[in-house]
């Protein structure tokens, strides 16, 4: 139940996520990141249509953040209220760039 729309421009990869990012769908995002991360400098995750994120999803974000902060940047955009609260509770807003 997760759709990932990807746009690759120069060295910036934008992934627009739609649906739920949980235990069953997190591997999808992980696969996408593993495939492209070596060749990009900037990663943008568009959460405009993402409804929910579970700890398995957070784990993928954390891994992405760790890699991207070494080779460029990663930011998360269009975060809805539910997810903003999850970021706040888990302390992820302290390490992620949320716009």
């Amino acid at each position: 139940m997760l759709d990932i729309k990807k746009t690759l421009e120069n060295e910036t990869l934008t992934l627009a996520l739609k649906g739920r990012l949980d235990t069953t769908t997190a591997p999808q995002l992980e696969t996408q990141l593993k495939e492209h991360m070596a060749r990009i400098k900037h990663l943008v995750l568009d959460f405009a249509e993402l409804e929910y994120i579970s700890s398995a999803g957070l784990r993928v974000l954390l891994a992405g953040q760790k890699v991207m902060q070494k080779q460029g940047s990663m930011k998360v955009t269009h975060v809805n209220e539910v997810i903003a609260e999850i970021f706040e509770i888990t302390g992820f807003n302290e390490i992620l760039t949320v716009e």
Partner: protein
């Protein structure tokens, strides 16, 4: 039983088909034979009749003056003295007449006398000549009739537009009587009135030179000979075909019977071959399949089938069945292995579940000698083992440490990570470190060796039992819920740090809460707030707080039951995705029963 019937019906079906084809063959053979013989009989008859007619014609036209003779016989039939059916050489009248005439005309060849010569004769000699030639002709016609076995052979002159036949001459067998009665042979001059159909036949014969009329077993034939004025002279004959027809019929029947017998014989051979080469091997294949169904022993089946391997479709079928049983066997073996493996894993998981559960404080009340607080906690993993955990233990006589944590992910990996986290947290706490220090140290330990990028959210709090002061720190965990003695359950939006295992070097800060006697603190994991129903709706903290408030006066156990009940009711039939872990502490303080408590504590 049903299959047995089906097998029988197959051979029955073939037999029915053969029977139908045999009947069809019989019918067709009979029909074609009949048509053929009918046609050939007709053709033969016609050929023979025309041959006979030609013979008779020849006998008549041998006389150069035959037209004169025909006319003379017709016109003078009443006056002529005719000797029929004569046996020459024994002094017949005709011989005498011959000598008499020869005396009148020495050197004359009577047979070849032409009309001129005859017209030159006196009338008496003409009459003599007509009588002699008539007798000769009759003798000749009798011979022809005998030679060809014709029933009637005659020559007629038609009168009154075919209404009447005037008999000129008729062939007779030896011993026949000349006359007009029944079974007598007509002499010269008999007139017969004929039927309309016979008139038609004669008319046809005159126009087409010959006509064959088929009247069942009798055949009438007329051939045109000559015209005398406007009278047609016709040669007629009648055949009795009944004997011939019977013979032909018998032949047809015998040919048909032969064809049918031939067909029956072939059909029987086909049936036997079908049975031997198709049904019998098929039955064997079927029996082998049944045997395999019962015993699941592919070796026996392959052995049986190997014996009956004809090089045709049935051979292919039996080979297919052989390979199928082998495949099924392999499959069954694999399933058995997998099942055994699954059972082993399941057993191990059950054991792991018990070990995990045993790791958490699970005997309630846990501190029977400590009436200052009442604590209760539950953990219900979504799978056999979970990543959530709670913990509480006395650091020292006056300090109770409480932990609520949630490992990212689920199942065995989460359970392993949970065990590590739990032990590190407890070790740090037992060293007497503060809540923030516990988290900072644990994070360092976890991050130093965290290749799988797993993390755990932790809320840790240390309650000073004597004063009710709670020092807590939160590493990305859910907000705790507090009920003050005079108030109700409220979320405490405490200060959050990043999850444990998230980032190396994270520093955590702690905060303090004052728990008055009668205060209750509720801790939980996201399995509670994020329980989801069939419509994908979240349970949410609002519903959770409602459930807490409904049971706010109850014991910690009752409060947890209230929340558990509310969550289960909300989720309904939807599967439980996340672990469900809760802890509730009721701080009683030592004011109420100070004396007794002090005395008890002195015992420690």
């Amino acid at each position: 039983m049903q299959k047995e019937q089906r097998r029988n019906s197959l051979i029955l079906q073939v037999a029915v088909l053969f029977t139908i084809s045999v009947l069809l063959t019989g019918f067709l053979t009979y029909f074609s034979q009949s048509v053929l013989t009918d046609a050939s009989v007709k053709k033969q008859t016609e050929g023979l009749a025309s041959e006979i007619a030609d013979e008779v014609k020849l006998a008549v036209t041998e006389y150069p003056a035959y037209e004169w003779l025909l006319r003379y016989w017709y016109e003078h039939s009443d006056e002529l003295d005719i000797e029929y059916d004569t046996d020459y050489g024994s002094g017949t009248r005709t011989e005498e007449k011959c000598r008499l005439l020869a005396g009148h005309y020495p050197g004359m060849q009577f047979k070849y006398a032409d009309t001129q010569e005859l017209l030159a004769m006196p009338e008496a000699d003409q009459k003599l000549y007509a009588e002699i030639t008539y007798s000769w002709l009759i003798t000749r016609v009798n011979q022809i009739k005998r030679a060809y076995h014709v029933d009637f052979l005659f020559c007629v002159l038609t009168e009154d537009s075919y209404e009447t036949q005037f008999f000129l001459f008729s062939g007779a067998d030896p011993g026949s009587v000349r006359g007009t009665s029944y079974e007598e042979i007509y002499p010269l001059g008999v007139r017969v009135t004929v039927s309309a159909s016979q008139q038609e036949e004669m008319r046809n014969a005159q126009q087409n030179s010959a006509h064959l009329a088929d009247a069942g077993s009798y055949v009438d034939y007329y051939a045109f000979l000559d015209m005398i004025d406007d009278h047609a002279v016709l040669i007629g004959m009648t055949y009795d075909l009944s004997g011939l027809m019977a013979n032909i019929h018998a032949q047809t029947i015998s040919r048909t019977s032969y064809a049918v017998a031939h067909q029956v014989f072939l059909s029987l051979i086909c049936l036997v071959l079908t049975s031997v080469f198709v049904l019998h091997p098929l039955k064997k294949v079927q029996n082998s399949i049944r045997l395999y169904k019962e015993t699941k022993n592919s070796e026996t089946v392959i052995e049986n089938l190997a014996k009956i391997r004809p090089h045709n479709e049935i051979g292919q079928l039996s080979e297919d069945v052989m390979s199928l049983t082998k495949e099924i066997d392999d499959y069954l073996n694999r399933i058995q292995t997998i099942t055994a493996e699954e059972e082993r894993i399941s057993t191990e998981l059950s054991l792991a579940t018990r070990i995990q559960a045993a790791m958490l404080p699970h005997i309630f009340p846990p501190f029977p000698g400590r009436p200052e607080f009442d604590i209760y906690a539950t953990m219900e993993p979504a799978r056999k083992v979970g990543g959530d955990f709670y913990d509480f233990f006395l650091v020292d006589d006056d300090h109770l440490c409480m932990v609520m944590a949630d490992v990212s992910g689920k199942g065995v990996p989460a359970a392993l990570f949970m065990m590590v986290s739990k032990i590190i947290l407890q070790s740090c706490a037992m060293l007497g470190k503060s809540a923030a220090e516990i988290l900072t140290k644990t994070n360092e330990a976890i991050c130093s060796n965290n290749q799988e990028e797993m993390f755990v959210t932790v809320w840790v709090g240390i309650l000073e039992i004597s004063t009710g002061t709670l020092t807590a720190a939160n590493a990305g965990h859910e907000y705790p819920v507090l009920k003050k003695p005079d108030g109700t359950f409220e979320l405490i939006k405490d200060r959050h740090g990043l999850v444990i295992g998230g980032m190396e070097g994270t520093r955590y800060r702690e905060y303090q809460l004052q728990m008055e006697p009668g205060a209750k603190l509720f801790l939980y994991t996201d399995g509670v707030a994020e329980a989801t129903d069939a419509q994908n709706q979240l349970f949410g903290t609002d519903r959770m707080i409602e459930a807490l408030r409904r049971a706010e006066d109850g014991t910690p156990e009752e409060i947890l039951q209230s929340v558990d009940h509310a969550v289960k009711e909300f989720v309904g039939d939807a599967p439980q995705f996340d672990d469900l872990t809760m802890l509730c502490i009721h701080y009683i303080g030592k004011n109420r029963e100070e004396g007794r408590n002090c005395g008890e504590r002195a015992d420690h």
